[in-house]
Subunit: 145 residues, 2 copies
């Protein structure tokens, strides 16, 4: 796992798009909107856009964010968003590898909790999170603006 | 609604504690852990710890965070955490007032989505989020470290 660089952007966007839910939400092309978002993530040390790099080939991505909060006795949280494993690398334990890395990094940053939300339709992902020890204790609400 | 200041901290922590779930998670006392968390939130413009102030009396709080991401075509998200209305001010529409403010602020910041998670046990809160137009489309996973 390493920090994503600008040259990884088209590969990451392709992975975000190559997904039943992502298809309708992403444009496959890397335009200024994606580039601006990448720069906002990259310049803020609270966010770590990571890629799984196997011999120079990017086969997975996730975004890890470290968020302060007062609740739970001032506990820092790590939040994981935009998780994808490249289609050709699925079923090889890459997701597990990426999450082990992310959880270790969260712990090293002093976080007391790792949180994420997963679309209710992603039942395969839910089994994966259950196996990692995550508890589906919350309802994830979204409001489109 | 206004930005919380250090002098509000004991009142905010009291509101976080005065809650069926918060009781077991918060200590009522404002110690260094809470103060450090407050400072981390306060110095980062990505986070806005807000209080509802009615004539000098703080009767509600929430934390609003603005998070960049590549997914959904590089869409910024606003995330809401640690929502409380003071016990003596419930049933007066304060929650609605706070959320109208937060949603307006998210829109003004260029966010395309407002997101939050709510403990599955908070069924009253879920009706409230439904009424505001939030969709319970996701499962919220937490892993304690």
């Amino acid at each position: 796992m390493r920090r994503a660089v600008a040259a990884d952007l088209s590969r990451i966007v392709a992975m975000l798009s190559d997904d039943p839910l992502g298809q309708g939400r992403e444009s496959g092309l890397v335009d200024a909107t994606y580039r601006n978002a990448f720069e906002s993530i990259d310049r803020d040390p609270s966010h770590y856009l990571a890629v799984a790099d196997r011999g120079g080939e990017v086969i997975g991505t996730l975004q890890l964010s470290f968020l302060p909060g007062l609740a739970r006795h001032g506990m820092w949280r790590a939040q994981i968003e935009a998780v994808r494993v490249a289609r050709e690398a699925r079923g090889e334990g890459i997701g597990r590898f990426m999450f082990d890395w992310a959880i270790d990094k969260a712990r090293a940053q002093g976080c007391g909790l790792v949180q994420l939300t997963s679309d209710a339709e992603r039942t395969g992902a839910h089994e994966f999170y259950d196996r990692l020890g995550f508890k589906p204790s919350h309802v994830g609400y979204k409001l489109q603006l």
